[in-house]
């Protein structure tokens, strides 16, 4: 198989993704758990993505690393922040995107884009991981439910229970108390989703949000949060087929640009 290939590796706090791009589009991707060794996770997901594309590592012309663990990818040609990569990836998938909401394992970000897919402004959550993927994982464990079922279950509830604390530790205690009070799990989950969505909505107030809105990151797979966000913004929200790979896609696109520019 001929042709140049480019790779993007997004090393997040919970999961790592690698994406292999050709001159004509996406060839393959892989998602693995990051675990305690980001470098190893980067290597494994890249290996898997290459195997799926039927290519070898030496065929990669350029590789860009992104995500919080980007500085731990020694085989990358360049590091680019996940803010820039999510903007680029979302713009590639939805060229008229004006705003990206990215909720990952420990960060949530809202990014506004210029017409070319560049970042015009952004906000990030502070040090607290409230309302991120890790927060949902802890809540799923407290509710003794699967993370992947949370979205579906929340949509079965007519209303959400009010959740007053967004601190992961306090919210976990609150959820346990609500279960003990006999509240339905579906309503608790919906309440959690509403609290997370309100938090994101509040973050967007610090920016000039432009439509269209694209939702990326692992939490975008949760249809319950996607629904509540749609309600809050009063508009449709683009959700990529695989929202978890948007950062890696952006990184691979930067890798391809680097090659084309000869940099």
């Amino acid at each position: 198989m001929a042709g140049r290939i480019y790779a993007g590796v997004d090393v997040g706090s919970l999961s790592s993704e690698a994406l292999v791009l050709g001159d004509d589009g996406v060839l393959s991707y892989s998602i693995v758990s990051t675990g305690a060794n980001p470098q190893r996770a980067a290597r494994i997901c890249l290996g898997e993505a290459l195997a799926r594309a039927g290519r070898e590592e030496k065929a990669i012309s350029r590789l860009v690393a992104t995500g919080y663990g980007r500085i731990r990818v020694p085989f990358a040609d360049r590091e680019v922040t996940e803010i820039t990569c999510h903007a680029r990836g979302a713009h590639y998938l939805f060229p008229t995107t004006g705003t990206v909401i990215d909720i990952g394992g420990q960060d949530s970000k809202v990014i506004t884009l210029d017409e070319r897919g560049g970042v015009s402004d952004f906000v990030m959550n502070d040090r607290c991981a409230a309302g991120t993927g890790r927060f949902l994982e802890v809540m799923a464990a407290a509710l003794e439910t699967e993370l992947r079922d949370m979205g579906r279950r929340s949509l079965q509830a007519k209303k959400g229970v009010s959740i007053s604390s967004m601190c992961t530790v306090f919210a976990e205690s609150e959820v346990i108390s609500l279960i003990a009070e006999g509240q339905r799990g579906e309503e608790i989950i919906r309440g959690l989703h509403e609290a997370i969505s309100r938090r994101i909505f509040r973050m967007t107030k610090r920016l000039r949000v432009r439509e269209e809105i694209t939702f990326s990151g692992g939490v975008a797979k949760n249809e319950g949060i996607a629904e509540t966000l749609k309600g809050l913004f009063g508009t449709q929200i683009n959700i990529p087929e695989e929202p978890q790979i948007v950062g890696a896609l952006g990184a691979a696109l930067y890798a391809r640009d680097m090659e084309h520019r000869g940099s």
Binding site: T84, S120, D121, D126
Partner: protein, 416 residues
């Protein structure tokens, strides 16, 4: 436990002994021998001298908050002592954990960490005893409260500089009367003569330093940037707060001017290759070990100027010391209406050919949190990339390396 207490007692004794600073001077001179910037050596010597005199207690010691005019203390032949500056030095050496932890058992953790660090150091007994405390109601909202608390701890009087919101003739008259009253009360409390002739000499020194500051700021407009912003926010801003009105201040600013003049003549920047220029807003930066300035430098982004060193006050007239000091206080662009600060930022962006702006948002600092958003909107309307960088100047526990790196690098990518 007992061993620790003995070590602490020895350390306190060493810190409190004027002899320590006499011994440290030749040692630090030797260590700084290779330092190419002579102004840095003057800063070190100044700190040793002013601290030695504060512990020697041969002159009255006046504690001041960072924005209270030191010319008053120098003009009364007293020794100024600024706890916030000492807190920033303690943070720089990575020693702020213990005093902050001690202060947290006495005061809300919402308070600025420079104040908490100062309080902890005072409670540990490291600070020289004040004869009087003068705080200013601008800019830091916690200054009056904390310094009043200090006055209760040490049982000494506390006076306040409280400028009006707006300048103008009425505001100026009010400020002049207040400063005269403050100096008069200070003289009465400390049994000092009020020598206006000497105060005029002090203002002459302050104005001489100001003239060099203006020249330094003009040199810093050059590309490539001759002085790292990290230094502008450390010893340069420190001397700006602490030395004006002293001979040390004149020597420092003259020396820095000459050093930078040589660098600019040679076209020598502080980065090997300067790609873009940043303006740093807020008076402080994280002083403990952090990566912010390294990340920027590695990507060719210079912190070309800091608003901490913006020269906002007009030349002083030593023949009219009270009016000059009133004008200096009232022209502070960080006090009063936000429009003044925005206008100053606009001037800095233009003068220093700024490509992007960082507004450091220090934990517990109320003086800039409201303005940060408005300033951001103003800059973004003009197409200038801008980030609010949350952090803490003195408390390393409030520093988040990963998130800080992402925010700073994203700004750099916006500049690219």
């Amino acid at each position: 436990m007992q061993h620790k207490q003995t070590s602490l007692k020895v350390l306190t004794w060493l810190v409190q002994s004027p002899l320590t600073y006499c011994c440290l001077r030749p040692i630090l001179d030797l260590l700084n021998m290779r330092e190419e910037n002579p102004a840095y050596r003057i800063w070190v010597r100044f700190l040793l001298d002013v601290t030695r005199r504060a512990y020697a207690r041969k002159q009255p010691v006046i504690w001041m908050s960072a924005f209270a005019p030191t010319e008053i203390a120098y003009g009364l032949r007293a020794v100024p002592f600024i706890p916030e500056i000492i807190a920033s030095l303690v943070a720089y050496f990575g020693w702020s954990h213990r005093p902050i932890a001690l202060a947290d058992s006495h005061i809300s953790t919402d308070l600025c960490s420079f104040y908490r660090c100062s309080l902890g150091l005072a409670l540990e007994g490291f600070f020289p005893r004040p004869d009087l405390i003068i705080s200013s109601s601008y800019l830091c909202d916690g200054a009056n409260k904390l310094l009043h608390y200090f006055s209760q701890i040490y049982g000494c009087p506390h006076l306040m500089v409280d400028p009006p919101y707006r300048d103008g003739a009425a505001g100026r008259r009010y400020m002049v009367d207040q400063l005269k009253g403050l100096a008069g009360t200070t003289c009465k409390l400390l049994d000092l003569p009020l020598d206006e002739g000497y105060l005029s000499q002090v203002l002459t020194l302050s104005d001489e330093a100001r003239a060099y500051m203006a020249k330094i700021n003009r040199l810093r407009r050059s590309a490539p940037s001759p002085l790292p912003g990290s230094e502008g926010l450390s010893y340069l801003a420190g001397m700006n707060f602490y030395s004006l009105g002293s001979r040390w201040g004149v020597d420092f600013f003259r020396s820095l001017y000459r050093y930078l003049e040589k660098k600019v003549t040679r076209g020598q920047g502080y980065l090997p290759r300067e790609k873009s220029r940043l303006l740093w807003l807020h008076h402080i930066r994280p002083y403990y070990r952090n990566e912010i300035f390294q990340i920027l430098a590695e990507r060719g982004v210079a912190v070309s100027f800091e608003e901490a060193n913006y020269l906002y006050w007009p030349p002083l007239d030593p023949s009219r010391p009270w009016e000059s000091l009133a004008d200096k206080i009232l022209s502070n662009v960080w006090a009063g209406p936000l429009e003044r600060r925005i206008e100053a930022i606009g001037n800095m962006v233009e003068d220093y050919r700024i490509d992007g702006v960082v507004h450091f948002s220090h934990w517990g600092c109320r003086q800039s949190c409201g303005g940060a958003g408005v300033i951001g909107d103003w800059l973004k309307e003009r197409g200038i990339p801008y980030i609010i960088l949350p952090g803490d100047g003195a408390d390393q526990d409030n520093y988040s390396p990963g998130q800080t790196r992402t925010r700073v690098e994203a700004l750099v990518e916006m500049l690219e």
